[in-house]
């Protein structure tokens, strides 16, 4: 049904026989039957709570939404003195998980946008004209009249107005049915697989981390925004740098900084963690020396025009403080936390940082309850951030050479649960956006009628996406960094 038959004929994996397995093989085929049987005998359930306009994720909270009550509380409440947290969410507002010696870069620049929690792809890129869509999703189904139509019977979630414009500009590629064999529903294993690029193993390095190892020793080649470094940027020998929000201010005077360099800069034989700790100090000094001037110079720059948008901005100390807390550890986030991260990235790109790969993140997508409002809020944030980011790079050659990848650890179960939410699922959509992107459809859409254990089955191996990014964006042979050779996809 898609326009270009060459892009979505088959699973894109080649060479590695283990990746050729029939992706329709269910892992636990008996489960749904058992569930269905149980359902049939259960009594009629009376919800103690009203429909929940505000959802809950299980990561972090948007503090500006903290205690925000959406309308429609209705009968929710203190029925018989008993209250489910579901009603709790109604009153207190939905939790979200906000989470966010190099010469000139040889290839283009890559920005990884990681959505934590498992975004519901089927309500992100919506097959609204597919007769199986509304019945199979039940109450979760989006009203066809609200979907932003693309073509071929698909539309975008109503929050993705900017993505719709990118689509019309041919700057948005949508890869459908992306995943891997034998998915297991675990947030942590699934995200480890996505970030390591190695299914079914406890790889300790990221797919970008292995590339860092192969490219030399600079921590500047890949940079994350936030206090901790995600697995994707961790190599054996090199770890991508992480940046605090705002300028870097080293403590102490020149003497202290010089002695710190002596502490940090020495190669050691004692123990691995000692060496890693020393390296992080040495890397900090490298970051300060090379990126510090850029961060200083751009401290008040606002390439995404966040000031006045109500979302803070890189120049806003409030947003910077929120970002410090939002990433990695805390939940004290504000709307615009993703845009704030992307604003820092835009500044670095426009100032010709030697960095080739950037990592930003947004959490809160684990919508077991009250999915509609949570996803609306989070996708609006994704949409605003990515769209403003792409726009900010329009007039700049390095900006135009920047490609954005948006991914999450898994899709969600096709049929929703009784909590107006959805449980963990399998295959999902991936977005690739940017000026140099060849917009359009890629990958076969998973069948809505041939589910496996209630889940969408993958048709495109996720490593095909990575192979493409290695080959076409970073300008390297993907094979050394991926376990096998994977067909590239012509989205860039």
């Amino acid at each position: 049904m898609h326009n270009d038959p060459t892009t979505h004929n088959d699973p894109t994996t080649h060479n590695d026989p283990t990746t050729h397995n029939d992706p329709t093989t269910p892992t636990t085929p008996a489960t749904d039957a058992a569930a269905t049987a149980a359902t049939g005998t259960a009594g009629t359930a009376t919800p103690t709570t009203a429909p929940h306009p505000e959802p809950a994720g299980d990561r972090r909270l948007d503090r500006r939404k903290f205690l925000t009550l959406a309308g429609g509380l209705g009968a929710a409440g203190l029925l018989a003195g008993t209250l489910g947290p579901h009603a709790w969410d109604v009153v207190f507002g939905g939790a979200r998980d906000p989470r966010g010696s190099l010469g000139p870069a040889a290839g283009r620049r890559l920005v990884l946008v990681t959505l934590y929690g498992g975004n519901d792809g089927l309500n992100t890129v919506v097959p609204y004209e597919n007769p199986a869509y509304a019945p199979s999703r039940g109450p979760l189904a989006l009203d066809a009249s609200t979907v932003l139509p693309l073509d071929e019977g698909y539309g975008l979630h109503p929050a993705l107005t900017g993505f719709k414009k990118l689509w019309e500009q041919k700057r948005l590629a949508i890869v459908q049915g992306v995943g891997f064999a034998d998915p297991n529903y675990s947030h942590f294993e699934s995200m480890d697989i996505w970030q390591s690029g190695v299914p079914g193993s406890a790889a300790s390095t990221g797919w970008i981390g292995r590339w860092l190892d192969g490219m030399g020793s600079s921590p500047l080649r890949a940079v994350g925004i936030g206090p901790t470094t995600p697995v994707v940027l961790q190599g054996d020998k090199v770890q991508g740098a992480s940046l605090p929000p705002g300028p870097i201010r080293l403590p102490g005077d020149a003497t202290e900084q010089s002695l710190y360099a002596g502490l940090a800069g020495t190669t050691r034989k004692e123990a691995l963690l000692l060496a890693d700790s020393a390296r992080s100090g040495a890397d900090l000094l490298t970051v300060d020396r090379r990126l510090g001037p850029i961060l200083d110079r751009t401290a008040t720059a606002d390439p995404l025009h966040l000031a006045g948008s109500g979302t803070g901005g890189a120049a806003s100390s409030e947003a910077a403080g929120a970002l410090a807390i939002a990433n990695g550890g805390g939940g004290l986030s504000t709307p615009g936390v993703l845009a704030t991260q992307l604003s820092i990235v835009a500044n670095l790109i426009l100032a010709r940082s030697p960095t080739q790969v950037y990592s930003v993140e947004l959490g809160g997508f684990d919508t077991h309850t009250d999915q509609a409002a949570t996803q609306q809020t989070l996708l609006a944030e994704l949409d605003a951030g990515v769209t403003a980011f792409v726009d900010s790079l329009s007039d700049d050659p390095a900006g135009q050479d920047t490609v954005v990848l948006v991914y999450t650890e898994f899709g969600r179960r096709v049929t929703g649960n009784a909590s107006a939410g959805s449980d963990h699922g399998w295959a999902n959509v991936v977005f690739v956006a940017g000026h140099g992107v060849t917009g359009g459809w890629y990958g076969d859409p998973p069948s809505l009628s041939k589910l496996s254990d209630g889940n969408l089955v993958f048709t495109t191996d996720f490593r095909s996406v990575y192979a493409t990014l290695f080959a076409e964006v970073l300008g390297v042979d993907p094979v050394p960094f991926l376990d096998g050779r994977f067909r590239t996809i012509p989205f860039v």
Partner: protein, 443 residues
């Protein structure tokens, strides 16, 4: 390894670093006696920490009712006022726990509380009511050293966990899988030791579990509890308590839980690691956490070089341990509480707000450039503020040893020693550098 180095390592890991006094006392009484003293403290009061005034909280039901009223009437000012109260409660709660850790005279009990927070990660970002987080924290403190099955049940039926993993919104015929999955995957058994069908069956057993707001307690809504007998791990069950009994007593859990404790206290291992075999038999007999801790501390590998260099201090351990070592009193902590929270956030760890139900990762996760900057900034400010007489009173030539004793670092590498020697004329500078040295960050 010299005896006193072993005892210092034990004290450091069983608490929040080792002050010079703690290290000396432990060395004097010997390793086994120190283990017994630490483990014996698990059932005892904590004179230091208990002197910290517990926070006061509004009633959850009152918050719920007044907020609902404010929202319904569109009273934005009232809504914001309640929001401010809850934020203030959260700040007080965090300050209180940090102050306890700094002041503790019974460090293993407070360390176990922190360890269990990481094992059952639950976040204010979703729970929203600070008193519920406080309630869970007190469960870890009061029941953490007992049997792990009872502890798991207590945590599972407490409001914080019920809210965190979406109890309360399911129906008998339509369960929510979140709690059942994380119970097996993260809390008790570990991925790969059960089938997806077990998760889905167990989810039915937990249907109808609810928070009772009036009592801030637990109740089962029988109308929404599935009466259907399910098979979990091959055993018929109908109640959530039966599921918790099953999973905590499973063979997989007998390896998973000891591996988790060992990973927090010695060095990261998988449940299949041989050292876990040495721990799991005794643990499986009664699931007693006190005995498990004793077995970990008495295991020969606990004092191996793999263990002594096997962990990076988590940010909370780093900050609290540094305050203890430099004798910055607990009262200072509550004064500077806000700032400490900001410091911890810049390092990536906010108490009561782990990033996900996976909790915080370990080791290289904490060795980012941003965290290095946050550690250095904290160390610089702390050294400027603390009474450094133990270092300043030593002669410049012996200050490198004095600062090692102050921070309980057994040995400096040549590179660190060179830097510290150059700084020996300035007590604040040598202390700052010692606090950010790889030897102190990593132990």
């Amino acid at each position: 390894m010299a005896d006193d180095i072993q005892t210092t390592h034990l004290v450091r890991r069983a608490g929040f670093g080792a002050t010079a006094q703690e290290a000396a006392a432990a060395a004097a009484q010997g390793y086994s006696a120190t283990v017994e003293q630490l483990v014996g403290g698990l059932g005892q009061p904590d004179d230091g920490a208990d002197a910290i005034t517990p926070p006061a909280f509004g009633a959850p039901l009152a918050y719920y009712t007044s907020l609902r009223q404010a929202r319904r009437s569109g009273d934005t000012a009232a809504t914001k006022s309640i929001e401010r109260q809850l934020r203030a409660e959260f700040g007080t709660l965090t300050d209180w726990w940090l102050a306890r850790m700094v002041a503790t005279t019974n460090p293993l009990r407070e360390k176990l509380t922190f360890l269990l927070h990481g094992h059952f990660p639950t976040a204010i970002s979703k729970v929203r009511i600070p008193s519920f987080m406080y309630g869970q924290n007190q469960i870890f403190r009061s029941q953490g050293a007992g049997a792990f099955d009872a502890l798991t049940l207590a945590v599972a039926t407490d409001p914080a966990m019920l809210i965190w993993l979406d109890a309360g919104s399911d129906k008998a015929a339509d369960p929510n899988e979140n709690f059942a999955r994380e119970l097996m995957e993260r809390f008790t058994m570990g991925i790969g030791t059960y089938h997806e069908a077990d998760v889905r069956a167990a989810a039915y057993a937990f249907t109808g579990w609810r928070v009772d707001l009036a009592t801030a307690g637990f109740t089962i809504d029988e109308r929404n509890h599935s009466p259907v007998v399910q098979h979990v791990l091959g055993t018929p069950v109908n109640t959530g308590q039966q599921v918790i009994d099953l999973v905590t007593h499973s063979a997989a859990s007998a390896r998973y839980v000891p591996a988790a404790f060992w990973s927090h206290l010695a060095y990261p291992v998988s449940p299949s690691d041989p050292v876990v075999t040495d721990l799991s038999g005794a643990y499986a007999a009664d699931l007693n956490v006190t005995n498990l801790l004793r077995a970990i501390f008495q295991h020969p590998l606990f004092t191996s070089s793999a263990a002594t260099t096997g962990l990076v201090k988590q940010p909370v351990e780093y900050v609290v341990g540094s305050l203890r070592a430099l004798g910055v009193p607990a009262s200072e902590v509550s004064v500077a509480g806000r700032k400490l929270v900001g410091t911890l956030a810049a390092m990536g760890q906010v108490l009561f707000d782990p990033p996900s139900v996976g909790g915080w990762s370990q080791n290289s996760y904490w060795l980012s450039t941003a965290a290095a900057l946050a550690r250095w900034t904290f160390a610089h400010d702390l050294a400027a503020k603390a009474d450094l007489s133990p270092v300043a009173d030593a002669s410049p030539a012996s200050r490198i040893d004095a600062v090692a004793a102050l921070l309980s670092v057994p040995q400096w590498s040549p590179a660190t020693a060179t830097a510290l020697t150059k700084a020996s004329g300035d007590p604040a500078l040598i202390t700052t550098l010692a606090l950010v040295s790889p030897e102190y960050v990593t132990n």
